[in-house]
Point group: none
Chain length 236, copies 2
DNA sequence: ATTTTTGTTAATGTAAGGTTAAAAGCTATA
DNA sequence: TATAGCTTTTAACCTTACATTAACAAAAAT
């Protein structure tokens, strides 16, 4: 077998620590690009295609969170790990809002980092692959253009979708006729899973159902405790 | 929300360390059964269904390797992690021969353990799904889709099943025409075996019988004191 | 005959989901 | 910086879905 080497963008301003970490990761079969600050990090990010970003939070010019936000604007998928100088709850929260997949307090055990990297990359690999690039869907009489965020019924009028509406419907469409687990939507779209985000999602389901009412063959079913299922009934 | 809690069997004779570790794992959303020695460990293993076993190697009466061997005889799948007092190559090898999935030298970083657990459980999950988890069954004129939790009769309308209904019917289907022991359903589905859960199960049997009435060739028979048997009569 | 086990229906309590509306966040633009 | 126009979250209230327990009848075992 032999998966191809995974590519990591490491943004770390401390030259000693940065080089050591880079070498360590390379020894563990990752291809590592090391940027010395946020600016450089973003440049390198745009130029290349990474499987994971490891960002130091404390950096001159451009801190890790700001960089992460910029990266997220370009790419909503790539996993991000933050390195923080010490446990700072505020920061951690802020990090999660940007869509961090994990964070680590320096100094950290390098083996822990390695395990996290493995877990994260593997997780992403199993979700994403084919999915991540599909933006147009036929759903019964509807056409969803997920890039431009609109829904048309029988070529007629276009309904504009909000970002969340759009992502949720897209996720449902990707799993048409199959279970779309609640948890999946929450982690992929809301990047958080708690009572309120879950209720928020229910609100969006209600909105989507309203849009989809035009075609009575299309419906969103609930699977209690599991998630939702977008079905398109074939028969009359 | 969400995946169900994973169950860990922890066999560790040092009471202090054992309790601390148990608490730590429980804080991280695992359900932990703690056994204080190999004997007890094996008893608990037989009674329940675990997703992972963590075995201390050094234990009085029955060491971890011996226990692992016994466990393997009952179950070739369940992942096993060994805790060894210190790096001992010999032992490690011996462990792998028994089919250990990993080992850790005490003292170890608890976060590392956590990551290993996650990785191992996930890996198993992804192996297993396809094979051992069968989700579609034909039962006479019925089709059971156990993933989406519905039952159709002759391609007609879909009846939604509750989680318990679904799991119970699936278990019966897995043993079609054969005895499905009461105790099996109780430990696998209810994860508990007492008067009330047993009565609860009877209620579910009644519910399933109601659904299955549509096809008079399909029935659930009781084997007094033993369990139930899902039969599909072939002749007219 | 009488004690256990099972069959079945109904009642109860709790959790999850459906829906709408109000509040809070954003962003752009005046 | 105020404001208009959106998006998203939170709140509230209601309905449905589930699992358990109770209650009583029937069947099987002793």
């Amino acid at each position: 077998m032999n998966e191809q080497q995974k590519r990591i963008l490491l943004v770390e301003d401390d030259p000693n620590f940065g080089t050591v970490l880079k070498d360590y990761l390379m020894m563990n079969d990752y291809e590592v690009t090391h940027a010395k600050n946020g600016m450089e990090g973003f440049e390198k990010f745009k130029k290349d295609d990474f499987d994971l970003c490891i960002l130091d939070v404390m950096m001159p010019y451009k801190d890790g969170f700001t960089l992460a936000k910029e990266i997220r604007e370009k790419n909503t998928e790539v996993p991000i790990i933050f390195l923080t100088a010490k446990a700072m709850k505020e920061d951690v929260l802020k990090g999660y809002k940007v869509g961090a997949d994990d964070y680590l307090n320096k100094p950290f055990d390098s083996e822990v980092l390695l395990m996290k990297i493995k877990a994260i990359i593997q997780r992403k690999a199993s979700d994403t692959v084919a999915d991540s690039k599909q933006f147009e869907f036929k759903i019964g009489g509807f056409d969803l253009n997920s890039k431009l965020r609109f829904l048309t019924y029988n070529g007629g009028e276009q309904v504009k979708l909000s970002p969340k509406e759009n992502e949720l419907l897209r996720l449902l469409a990707l799993h048409e006729n199959d279970l779309m687990p609640r948890e999946l939507a929450l982690t992929k779209i809301w990047r958080d899973d708690n009572y309120f985000t879950s209720r928020s999602m229910d609100v969006y389901i209600a909105k989507l159902r309203k849009y989809l009412k035009l075609d009575e063959k299309v419906e969103i079913l609930n699977i209690h405790g599991e998630g939702f299922r977008l079905v398109v009934n074939t028969e009359a």
